[in-house]
């Protein structure tokens, strides 16, 4: 019984990290069709923002806010200078963001060095959940993940900005004729995507290694989540849960390598089995 609870909690918190790191990507990729290979580097930017605030003795919450702000700013700047030129051909975004990811990694390395950086965990140690000890910080991450994904969904569904975002995502040209400034909407979406990535970076920083290349460890798994979820934000939590369940349970009962392959198989099946919901060409 205890083991079931522990495994369930483990799946939940693994899913939370997946959803957190992928929600920004599901905006830029799902809504804007930009294949952002630099998504991981926005994560890194967020993690380093929290490193800087921690080094100045500021509390953890400030680091989170700083990461979000820096991410938004960096995202907006990137959109204005680079991404804006790529909407006519999303394939170009591969080359551009591939270059961008290299540049960002190298700049961080020049600015901060290559050493591992340390962000103290604000909630160290385990706490009891239903009688089972579980990392307190992972619970916090899970709460953040649910809150952030819900907030993004709510913003898309219930605000006028969200309506405009969905309109542009469906048909940019048509929404222009209806008075929606698609350039502005794209700017907001990409900045939000980078801001969410940076926030996620600051959130995972206490439980992972912080160094200039850390984004690379995350970018592929986030793409897997988005591949499974399709081009919409709503299925993101389910996709993250599915992947986390497959990964954790296969790891637990067999071994981590089979788990990695099982996760890839799941992603591949997801593209295959229900392409209509995500990527299929309209007939």
């Amino acid at each position: 019984m205890d083991q079931t609870i522990a495994l369930t909690l483990g799946v939940l918190s693994s899913a939370a990290v997946l959803a957190l790191t992928a929600v920004g990507l599901s905006l830029s990729f799902g809504l804007m069709r930009i294949i952002n290979l630099a998504h991981g580097e926005f994560l890194t930017i967020g993690a380093y923002s929290s490193v800087v605030t921690a080094d100045h003795g500021l509390p953890w919450g400030v680091g989170l806010a700083a990461a979000a702000a820096v991410g938004l700013g960096a995202g907006a700047l990137t959109e204005l200078l680079l991404i804006r030129r790529l909407y006519r051909s999303p394939e170009l975004s591969i080359l551009a963001t591939f270059g961008l990811s290299i540049v960002v990694r190298q700049l961080i390395q020049l600015g901060f060095g290559k050493d591992y950086r340390m962000v103290a965990n604000p909630l160290p140690g385990a706490t009891k959940v239903l009688g089972v000890p579980f990392p307190a910080y992972q619970l916090l991450l899970t709460a953040f993940a649910v809150a952030i994904v819900m907030a993004v969904l709510a913003a898309l569904r219930f605000t006028s900005l969200g309506l405009r975002v969905r309109a542009v995502a469906n048909d940019a040209a048509l929404s222009e004729t209806l008075g929606v400034r698609s350039a502005r909407v794209n700017l907001v979406v990409f900045a939000a995507s980078a801001g969410l990535a940076a926030t996620a970076g600051a959130l995972v920083a206490p439980v992972t290694n912080v160094q200039p290349d850390m984004g690379l460890d995350y970018v592929f798994t986030t793409f897997l989540v988005v591949i499974v979820a399709g081009r919409r934000v709503a299925p993101l939590l389910i996709a993250a849960l599915g992947l986390a369940a497959v990964q954790n349970l296969t790891t637990f009962w067999t071994d981590p390598l089979l788990a990695r392959l099982a996760v890839l198989l799941l992603a591949f099946l997801a593209v295959q089995v229900r392409p209509s919901a995500s990527f299929r060409v309209a007939p």
């Binding site: 069709r33 294949i35 290979l37 680079l82 030129r85 790529l86 051909s89 999303p90 394939e91 170009l92 591969i94 080359l95 551009a96 591939f98 270059g99 961008l100 990811s101 290299i102 540049v103 990694r105 190298q106 700049l107 020049l110 592929f220 793409f223 897997l224 591949i227 390598l257 990695r260 392959l261 890839l264 198989l265 992603a267 591949f268 593209v271 295959q272 392409p275 995500s278 990527f279 299929r280 060409v281 007939p283």
Partner: protein, 582 residues
């Protein structure tokens, strides 16, 4: 300069340099040349056929591992066995990826993501399957090229790898400029239309994908012969991304651009890494960004734009006259029985019967949303019917794919003209004709010639295109493009022609011209034509019969006079039946 010399010379020069430049620089050049060949193969699938493949490294890597394994274990003929196995396994791998990806009609991004996952998985497998792949450390000390007891010096072996690269590059370039390449590009630009012209687009795409898999696999084995070493990095996503980036830098719609880009980027990075150890990656990344901003179409296309156009000779297309079709003698026309079509809860068509047996013009009218276009889509194979059957010239063709229907004599013209604007009229027509007459091998083998059936020439003459065959189709007016597209549809020797609003957006004169052409096609060429139309004046001038569709069901059918006097129809068409469209 002789075109042959012009094509062969530069790349042979690079290969010769690779052989002569000594073991280090020559070895590097040969290695980059092999990579350039693999990038060129990607350019054929991606740039020409429009299939973005992030897992090109998978077929390349499978070939590399096969080459390494046979080189180490197969003894005297290990090199040859490795090359054969590399090509074979690369092809098998590509075929598998295409079978699960392309056949399911994933769009470009969906397919790219499927290949993304495959590349990630391939690297895991290569890392894990140590007995065969050598695991993380890979396989090393793979013997260089040898045949039996015949030992090759390092220079001679380099000549083999560089020479094979040159041959494959020339093959790829040649394919791209033959009708085969042009047809792939046309499929990339408009899949529906090419299907309507008789091309099996699914097979064409997976065929091209498999072929480039064979090339990548072969070159993987060649790569191993050159570098004598293989590790999981070659098969993974990082390598796959590299190929994509190099192809994009060089212009993915060319073959030579990606080859040169691969050479320059690799040689550049190698030199730069030595000259600026701490900044070479930064510079490389910045260069990629600059390339996207400054030369989004790739360097090759930019270079070409800067050169005088007289350097580029136009393609000579020879069009002849084909013997009249004998299909119409088989006769029988199109017989439709209780066809239905549902989209979820919505019923678009229910129990539709049609008889288009005699030559003549049959008009299909009805209010918007009546199911007219859906009926044409179902009959021409673009939308699946959920019930009923239809026969073409006495043969049951229910549920056949579009290209098979076209080859059986059913022509389909879409509402919006979709001719290839950058191709000339003659090129468009030749491309259209090949849909009916050529299979893949013919597209690869044949020259730019096509013989058009008399009914196509009839339309071309009526439109007065005879002296404009070598102008780009984009220069035609909207009405003239409709005429060209009609002629292209007719190149398929069709006996039954389905037209969707042929007069939409046309001037009064052009409309009259279309009417005359349709009458002529019926009178002189015995065609059976089904036209979806709104324009009553046009209908009066051409229609032998009119069928009214409403809510997916046939409401009435008869001569123009019968329909116009039908009070039920008039009720539906208040304001429309009374007057002509202005």
């Amino acid at each position: 300069m002789n075109p042959f010399v012009r094509q062969v010379l530069p790349i042979s020069l690079a290969a010769a340099t690779a052989v002569l430049a000594g073991s280090w620089a020559g070895g590097l050049l040969a290695q980059f040349l092999v990579l350039g060949t693999v990038t060129a193969a990607l350019a054929l699938t991606w740039g020409t056929a429009g299939i973005l493949n992030l897992g090109h490294s998978v077929t390349f890597g499978v070939g590399a591992y096969a080459g390494a394994w046979f080189g180490l274990h197969a003894g005297a003929y290990g090199s040859l066995a490795g090359l054969a196995a590399g090509a074979l396994l690369g092809g098998v791998m590509a075929r598998l990826i295409a079978a699960v990806g392309l056949r399911r009609r994933l769009d470009a991004v969906g397919f790219a993501l499927a290949t993304f996952v495959v590349a990630l998985a391939a690297e895991q497998v290569a890392n894990r399957w140590t007995p065969v792949t050598g695991g993380f450390n890979g396989l090393t000390d793979i013997p260089r090229f040898h045949v039996g007891a015949l030992a090759f010096t390092a220079t001679a072996a380099r000549g083999v790898t560089a020479g094979l690269s040159v041959l494959v590059i020339l093959l790829l370039a040649s394919l791209a400029r033959r009708p085969y390449g042009a047809a792939l590009a046309a499929i990339r630009d408009n899949e529906r239309r090419m299907a309507a012209l008789g091309y099996d687009v699914g097979a064409a795409k997976s065929g091209a994908f498999t072929f480039t898999g064979v090339v990548a696999g072969l070159m993987g084995a060649v790569y191993v012969l050159q570098v004598q070493f293989v590790s999981p990095g070659l098969i993974g996503l990082a390598m796959g991304t590299n190929f994509v980036v190099w192809a994009m830098l060089g212009s993915r719609r060319t073959i030579w651009g990606p080859v040169v880009a691969t050479l320059v980027v690799n040689a550049g990075a190698n030199q730069l890494a030595g000259a600026a150890l701490d900044y070479w990656l930064l510079v490389t990344g910045a260069a990629f960004i600059a390339a996207v901003v400054l030369v989004p179409d790739g360097v090759a296309v930019m270079v070409r734009r800067g050169l005088p156009t007289r350097w580029f000779r136009a393609r000579q297309v020879v069009l002849g006259v084909a013997a009249p079709s004998t299909d119409s003698l088989a006769g029988g026309g199109l017989v439709v029985r209780s066809v239905g079509c549902r989209f979820g809860p919505f019923t678009a068509l229910r129990g539709v019967d049609l008889d288009l047996i005699e030559p003549g013009v049959h008009c299909l009218i009805g209010p918007n949303g009546a199911g007219k276009s859906t009926l044409l889509d179902v009959l021409s194979g673009f939308t699946s019917a959920t019930g009923g059957s239809w026969q073409l010239n006495g043969q049951d063709v229910t549920g056949r794919p579009p290209w098979e229907l076209t080859r059986s004599g059913l022509g389909r013209k879409f509402q919006a003209p979709s001719v290839a604007g950058s191709l000339t009229l003659a090129e468009n027509l030749a491309m259209a004709r090949w849909g009916r007459t050529h299979r893949t091998l013919a597209l690869i083998r044949r020259r730019w010639t096509a013989e058009l059936p008399p009914e196509a020439w009839f339309v071309l003459d009526a439109a007065g295109f005879a002296d404009r065959m070598d102008t780009p189709a984009a220069s035609l007016s909207h009405g003239a493009q409709q005429m060209l597209e009609l002629a292209m549809t007719l190149t398929a020797n069709c006996t039954v022609l389905l037209l969707d609003e042929p007069t939409a957006g046309m001037t009064r004169t052009e409309t009259q011209q279309i009417a005359e052409v349709l009458r002529g096609l019926v009178r002189d060429h015995g065609l059976t034509v089904l036209v979806v139309e709104h324009d009553m004046a046009f209908i009066r001038s051409v229609a032998d019969r009119v069928t009214v569709l409403r809510g997916g069901e046939i409401m009435a059918s008869g001569t123009v006079a019968e329909i116009e006097s039908n009070s039920e129809v008039s009720a539906v068409y208040v304001g429309r039946a009374a007057g002509d469209r202005p």
